[in-house]
């Protein structure tokens, strides 16, 4: 068993499942938005605001924003633990990786909170 403190769920199985589940939500949301934009070529602010006024769309968008944060956390954590390692960079790697991981986590959380603020603040 390899231990780790900064992965999203600390479990390989949970991370793997969540990455797939969040990918499905993101795919559905992307398809929906692309389809909506394709069907509304003369889109104006009023129609756009109406789309996001209903609770189902707010919840769908929230699910997509949270999914993006989780998906990016798991994916970027994997990239950082692959390439920012002592094996490749020497002793500087551990503090550097930790700093990058914390920055990545804060940015992800920040974007998720910002999305909530936009959805319910406008």
């Amino acid at each position: 068993m390899v231990t780790n403190a900064t992965s999203f769920s600390r479990s390989g199985l949970s991370d793997w499942l969540l990455q797939r589940l969040t990918a499905l939500i993101l795919a559905a949301y992307t398809l929906f938005l692309v389809g909506y934009l394709a069907l509304h070529p003369d889109l104006d602010y009023a129609a756009w605001a109406r789309l996001f006024a209903g609770l189902p769309m707010k919840l769908f968008t929230l699910a997509a924003a949270v999914s993006l944060a989780i998906h990016a956390w798991i994916g970027l954590w994997t990239v950082l633990t692959d390439y920012v390692t002592e094996r490749l960079l020497g002793p500087v790697a551990t503090p550097l990786r930790l700093a990058l991981e914390i920055a990545m986590i804060l940015v992800n959380l920040g974007f998720a909170v910002w999305a909530i603020d936009i959805l319910w603040g406008v």
Binding site: V2, S11, G12, L13, Y83, R87, L88
Partner: protein
């Protein structure tokens, strides 16, 4: 004359590795790469490589042959010579001891980690533990591995984390014992593999399947391990 370019490094003498060029007369025959190495060894006795059975059974002469890992003894020149040139390098990602000889300690450490032996707490029957033909058939495609390390050293995930990711060879053997009807330690084996590195660092790029000289499929075995983890962990 066939041009052969070989990775040379003798840590006692050389500051850095270099490529040395040789020419060999193959007489137009489609020799195996190992035959060419033997001819070169006669020309230059300082050339170092591992070999033993010369028929793809022992797994000693795994090396990077014109960019693809394989066994020198069963790789014909027709499969790997381009523009009349053969390029031989040691297996990637492992420390080089000398020329084409690599230090396999890390590879064996990961093999050892999956406890590649049968564990059964029940008292042994008088003669042997029996399997049905169907149960035995589940081990086909798993037990044939010769531990040549061609797969694990072709895997980027293993290059980056050889101490944490078990790698395709180790995981194929992990599944070989998970799939064995006589083994009773399935849960314990799975618990040791559930973290984000041991199994899940596999990104499914299938380099292992592409290079395996025995045509085995570690990616499929890794998929089966994930299914078992899913079954026991959800």
């Amino acid at each position: 004359m066939l041009k052969v370019s070989i990775y040379r490094y003798n840590p006692d003498r050389d500051d850095a590795p270099y490529m040395q060029d040789y020419e060999v007369d193959t007489g137009g025959k489609d020799l195996m790469v190992l035959d060419v190495l033997e001819m070169l060894k006669a020309q230059d006795p300082t050339l170092a490589y591992r070999r033993s059975c010369r028929e793809g059974v022992c797994g000693s002469d795994g090396m990077n042959i014109s960019g693809k890992n394989g066994l020198a003894c069963i790789t014909p020149l027709s499969q790997c010579v381009r523009d009349n040139q053969l390029v031989l390098r040691p297996l990637p990602g492992l420390p080089v001891i000398r020329d084409l000889v690599v230090d396999m300690s890390q590879f064996y450490a990961q093999y050892k980690r999956v406890k590649p032996w049968l564990m059964n707490d029940e008292p042994p029957p008088p003669i042997e533990r029996l399997q049905t033909p169907e149960e035995r058939a589940k081990l086909d495609g798993l037990y044939e591995c010769i531990l040549c390390a061609c797969c694990s050293t072709a895997c980027p995930s293993w290059w980056w984390n050889p101490d944490k990711f078990v790698g395709p060879a180790g995981l194929l053997q992990a599944y070989r014992f998970l799939a064995d009807s006589r083994d009773t330690h399935t849960e314990e084996r799975l618990a040791g593999l559930e973290d984000p590195f041991s199994v899940f660092r596999c990104r499914g790029i299938m380099n292992c399947v592409d290079v395996c000289p025995k045509n085995l499929n570690p990616t499929a075995a890794i998929g089966k391990i994930r299914q078992l983890l899913l079954k026991s962990g959800t």
